[in-house]
Symmetry: C2
Subunit: 256 residues, 2 copies
């Protein structure tokens, strides 16, 4: 079964200004990998209505599935729901079920006009639920709108993504080797890639905080059998260059 | 003077697969803020030639300046230089000065075919230098191509960005307040935004690792005088809601 394609739109000035580091891409990417959905593009765009509307309309045609994060809170700079409604040419209408759920959680006194606005969804949208917040995200067409706060975003991804039709998950295998340099094995790796045309072999230099440098070699693809074969081949390539192959990449994830 | 607009293309399967967290956006964003260049979009795209070529051609028309990171190393998955050359309709040619600099640093024996490939630039390109590597990035037209390895990327940004014409830098001021909730001050903040139409007021919920929750209030814009006035107004808004305004945001940068 062919993998569906996805695009993730990160809506928020705070990423583009360098104030905040995006943490949501990785959470979504991993959930999509497990579900066999292929994340093909991420775009970070500012809180400017025309840019949001045009980007949503471009991407919902170009990809099977579009996800967004950010801009669905109670403040004036939360304009995502309004922009998505305009992109789809529908009005924002109160989603009664969400309104009542929010009122029940927050209590009538705290449920002021600003918070009530979070229960307004584009007409025809269905809510995306979170274990952490009564204020919903929403789905309209192939566009799935989620919160930007990482903990709430993650809880919405956890609720939403398993509901998509599952395809073969992205399989991966990786080895790292301290002291190995890309230029030394580039030709061998190129030849290996020609042996495994159905998957991607990648090479990623890293430097740990203690100064150790090395390279991570990664095989990735939807053909799990070939990834397993490539796993062994990457191990052997490192051995052939006189370095020690080490399994696991968790400690390299934040390496620079 | 009007700020020039910029777009940053992060080229790399490793970000889209969730294996690596992008660290370069923030470095570039902060350098551009200081130079008065407005980062309007970031796109993360995979190592697929057509997608790189089409995205570069779309973005170099849509933005004043385009930056890229990733894919200029010695391995087979480093296809950025080739794709940029194709986007501009020019051949890749050996850049003699870079070739000789690399050979001098690496020594003739280690300077194999894979490494020599890193001295091939699109015809007409000029090199972008790094304090950490003899292998260059390059500029062609309004597109600036840099390495993906964060330390080398940062050194190239440091060399390149101050060479752009300087405009008024992005000014910002921020306060944070533990225990403050967006829904409680949303209406006051909206009114404040109408008082300061030339700058952006933003509100960002955070949760620290010790569980403390709060909100950061941020004023940003190219009109420094108004940002300073808004700074005081944001402080007073927090006071009016019975919380203690705290200056500085460094400890919140990684907050979730």
């Amino acid at each position: 079964m062919l993998q569906k394609t996805a695009c993730f739109l990160v809506i928020g000035n705070e990423i583009l200004s360098g104030r905040t580091q995006d943490a949501n891409t990785r959470v979504l990417a991993r959930a999509l990998n497990a579900q066999g959905i292929r994340l093909l593009e991420v775009r970070v765009i500012p809180d400017i209505p025309d840019r949001i509307i045009n980007t949503v309309n471009e991407c919902r045609k170009a990809f099977d599935i579009v996800f967004t994060s950010g801009g669905i809170g109670p403040t004036h700079d939360d304009i995502t729901a309004d922009c998505i409604a305009r992109a789809f040419g529908v009005p924002l209408v109160r989603h009664e079920e969400s309104y009542q759920a929010m009122e029940a959680v927050m209590g009538r006194e705290k449920f002021n006009a600003a918070r009530q606005r979070m229960a307004d969804l584009p007409e025809g949208a269905t809510p995306i639920l979170s274990a952490l917040s009564a204020a919903p995200g929403f789905t309209i067409g192939n566009v799935h709108v989620m919160a930007g706060v990482p903990s709430i975003f993650a809880s919405m991804v956890e609720w939403l993504v398993p509901q998509f039709e599952k395809s073969a998950p992205l399989a991966s295998a990786s080895w790292h080797a301290a002291g190995l340099k890309e230029g030394d094995f580039a030709e061998d790796l190129r030849l290996l890639q020609t042996r495994f045309p159905t998957i991607d072999l990648g090479s990623y230099p890293y430097q740990l905080s203690d100064g150790t440098k090395g390279v991570a070699l990664v095989a990735k693809g939807y053909d799990a059998e070939t990834v397993r074969t490539a796993d062994t081949a990457l191990h052997d390539l490192i051995m052939a260059h006189g370095k020690e192959p080490m399994k696991g990449e968790a400690d390299l994830d934040r390496a620079v």
